[in-house]
Symmetry: C2
Subunit: 242 residues, 2 copies
DNA sequence: ATCTGTCAAGTGTTGAACAATTCAACAAAC
DNA sequence: GTTTGTTGAATTGTTCAACACTTGACAGAT
């Protein structure tokens, strides 16, 4: 019998999925505060279910909850960006080291991602371009063959994506990153892992400083804490759990 | 000015903390199924709050939820152990590479952990010994100075600890690992990172194969999936309950 | 024995309530 | 005018009770 693909997901999980998509797509921008009752009603679920969904996303790092003050879409600080790129360096380089005997299937997927990336840039669909860019890197991680590392990487990339919706088309030009990825793919298939790692590190450093720069220009006046204001000191107000 | 941090944690978080402790301490053994209503009543909270707590722990990987079938304490498969030690290798080695200029404060803590480890072994308090052992390794991770990597490491170690409650005092002898850790500390303070990394890798491989061996002897046939399957396995699951 | 329908138990979800906390606006005091 | 209570609406945290839906086990029929 075909018992393969019967997915029974709870409503809470589905709601979490919807919200996750909205956050990652930029429909819900960082700092946006989400109220339980209106959101629950708009999706036709009960408040408890919505709370479960929000709990999921806050544990994923996409939402930040501060007690009795509400839930908001996470905002990245420069320190967060540093950390996330640190994570990327550690994991992606480790992945390259595990790619001595790359699975041909994975290489094909990498190539496909590369092509879709280029196509998206050509059509100037930059949201899609960024997606395929990140997908390319996610595929690298698969060389590790480790579910835990993969899902941690995905979660981290998710946080990064939230921050990147601020960058969007006006400030950045994803097209210029095409040659780098092509080179990475080429070196990878040629087995020149050492050199590949070098290029990859450069690429990551480049991306990080680019994003940091944009964030500095863009959000100069608004600190991550600004949404929850307290008259005496805005800093201590950042008491956050989850 | 110096106010001690005011901790405002939700009840759900506290309940999650209690359950986490029970799981990590081995009071709740892997495979034990947890029922919402009795547990909620025993802790004096509502069912919804208990569900939130369980959601937290299942996202942490300590509990495993299968829809409409209940929640049980996670069980590690051999594959899980492989993955977890893979994670440890990647992170701990990366941490060592970041320890070129080790913070003296961290070195002191490492030394303290080492001492407490030895004391615990001397008193034959092996649960405490394992804790200090793992704490020693957690301190290594702090060299990375990366909150995300640290919490991911902690989460992973947590899963491992759940599996280790099966090993416990009868099958293993933590004492013999003291010299390795002392050597690690010594090489680290001497700045011989290359050699330190080598020893660390050996140590991790050793621990992994030791745990795998014990799991093979101990739990022979059980895979994590099997508990939710058919009648025959249902018996095996029941055996774990007592 | 195998199969099938029934049934109790447990989880998933809902809706409504109440308690606790925050925040802003306003009043009172210096 | 600034600071310091005080009030009150709004929102979140938590509880409670109900119902729908699955599941696993059991009893009776084949």
């Amino acid at each position: 019998m075909e018992r393969s693909q019967i997915y029974r997901v709870s409503v809470a999980d589905q709601v979490a999925g919807v919200l996750r998509q909205r956050v990652l797509s930029g429909e819900l921008r960082p700092g946006t505060s989400l109220q339980e009752i209106p959101l629950a009603e708009s999706l036709g679920v009960s408040r408890n279910t919505m709370r479960e969904a929000m709990r999921i996303l806050s544990l994923e790092g996409l939402l930040k909850r501060s007690i009795h003050r509400g839930i908001a879409v996470a905002q990245l600080s420069l320190r967060d960006v540093q950390e996330i790129y640190h994570v990327r360096r550690v994991l992606e380089i480790s992945a390259l080291e595990a790619a001595k005997a790359p699975a041909p299937e994975l290489l094909r997927e990498l190539f496909a991602a590369l092509e879709q990336y280029e196509e998206a840039v050509e059509v100037r669909d930059w949201i899609s371009a960024v997606n395929h860019d990140l997908h390319f890197h996610s595929l690298l991680i698969r060389f590790l063959g480790n579910k835990r590392l993969e899902s941690f990487y995905q979660k981290t990339i998710g946080e990064l994506r939230v921050g990147m919706v601020l960058v969007d088309q006006r400030h950045d030009h994803p097209g210029i990153l095409i040659p780098v990825h092509r080179k990475l793919y080429q070196l990878l298939t040629a087995g020149k892992l050492k050199q590949c790692a070098k290029i990859l590190l450069q690429h990551l450093d480049d991306s990080e400083s680019r994003l940091s720069k944009v964030m500095n220009d863009h959000g100069a006046t608004r600190t991550p804490e600004s949404s929850a204001r307290s008259k005496t000191n805005g800093k201590a107000a950042a008491r956050v759990h989850d």
